[in-house]
């Protein structure tokens, strides 16, 4: 994503900034990322592993993340995802989009509060 681009503010679309944020903190395997996403509590409901992996592959095609095999100490090698410079730019753009959305939601909630009967 580039700054100013209309991204749509849907649940699956928001997975992109969630994944980028976690990967900025630490490069990780899809397996661990899914567990971290669940613990991060960014959204309601359960994270679907298939959706996460599909988005990671798309983000790799778009150059937002890169991947390489990392051998396990005693177990199997897993694909390790790392955020790219382009991914960091996209995350910054996402934070602006989310901020704008938060302001709009605040306006909506303020209007809603005005509708409530005065006690």
């Amino acid at each position: 994503m580039v700054a100013g681009q209309d991204t749509g503010f849907t649940g699956e679309r928001l997975l992109e900034p969630h994944l980028l944020l976690l990967l900025c903190r630490k490069a990780d395997h899809g397996y661990e990322l899914i567990a971290r996403l669940a613990r991060a509590d960014f959204t309601d409901g359960e994270v679907d592993p298939a959706t996460v992996y599909r988005n990671l592959r798309r983000m790799e095609r778009e150059g937002l993340v890169g991947s390489r095999w990392e051998a396990g100490r005693s177990g199997p090698a897993r694909r390790l995802y790392e955020v790219t410079a382009r991914g960091r730019q996209a995350l910054a753009a996402w934070s602006e989009t989310i901020n704008r959305q938060r302001e709009k939601l605040s306006v909506f909630l303020a209007e809603f509060e005005r509708l409530r009967p005065q006690s």
Partner: protein, 272 residues
């Protein structure tokens, strides 16, 4: 002389392997492919008794570490995930009864008289021990003490590998069977999705899955080993004694690369 690539694979991977080979044959037209399929633990035992292979694709990376690393295989790569589901026959109980079997009532339906349910063998096939784990987790998740033993009594016959359950489901010889979601999708079988806490498909529940444990035969037929519950993963490795190591690596690269990922997804697996 024609080069030969010998691929041994978990039965559940028959279709995706076949689809990858179509691409591989176009890239390496002169290569003869020898394929053999079995339950993953059975594959590992065959290798220990001397059966040659170049590429090995198994339904559980733990089988590599238990049987084959480091003598037969070095690095091995996780390439896909899946979940356990209950495959349903289009001509079976669900359609005879006119009632839908779902994620809440399946344990009562499967334990009822006159309903045929099957699974694969835990000693030969990871889907077999994963089925037993699903039952143990379900017992806890649904607060149904004794459920695993009840299902064990009803679930007959036991097949060598999960893919062998698909034929009887398609033909109506079985009402239900515990199989991978990818197998159900590949063959157009209806299936019951189990909760993520139970289906061994969600890494966020890895800690909960570890509560489940199944004792299976080990490297020797008189040994036993305990397998603990874990999210389902499939892994690929190349033989240390591969006769065609370059071809073997090319096949694993194809399977784990973009083209292979498309094939896996098309076959209902989750490439990772």
């Amino acid at each position: 002389m024609k080069a030969i690539l010998r691929i041994m694979h978990a039965g559940a991977l028959r279709r995706p392997v076949g689809d990858c080979l179509e691409i591989f044959r176009r890239r390496f037209p002169g290569v003869r492919i020898d394929l053999s399929a079995a339950g993953s633990r059975e594959c590992a035992r065959r290798i220990l008794t001397g059966e040659p292979f170049d590429v090995l694709l198994l339904a559980d990376p733990a089988v590599f570490s238990e049987f084959l690393v480091p003598d037969h295989v070095g690095d091995h790569f996780v390439f896909a995930t899946d979940q356990i589901v209950i495959g349903c026959s289009r001509y079976g109980h669900q359609y005879r009864s006119g009632r839908e079997t779902d994620g809440q009532n399946w344990m009562d339906v499967l334990a009822a008289e006159g309903v045929s349910t099957a699974r694969s063998d835990e000693h030969l096939d990871p889907c077999g021990y994963r089925t037993l784990m699903v039952w143990q987790l379900a017992e806890d998740f649904y607060h149904r003490p004794g459920l695993a033993a009840e299902l064990e009594r009803h679930c007959r016959p036991i097949y060598a590998k999960s893919i062998d359950l698909v034929g009887p489901l398609l033909e109506g010889g079985l009402d239900y069977a515990f199989i991978y979601a990818s197998e159900a999708r590949q063959f157009g079988l209806p299936y019951v999705v189990l909760p993520a806490m139970v289906n061994l498909g969600h890494p966020a529940h890895a800690g909960y899955y570890r509560r489940a444990a199944v004792t299976v035969t080990g490297r020797g037929l008189s040994d036993t080993t305990v397998v603990r519950g874990a999210p389902i993963e499939f892994a690929a490795g190349v033989s240390r004694r591969a006769e065609a190591p370059d071809l073997a690596e090319a096949f694993v690269d194809l399977l784990t690369g973009e083209e292979g990922q498309r094939v896996l997804e098309h076959n209902g697996l989750i490439p990772c």
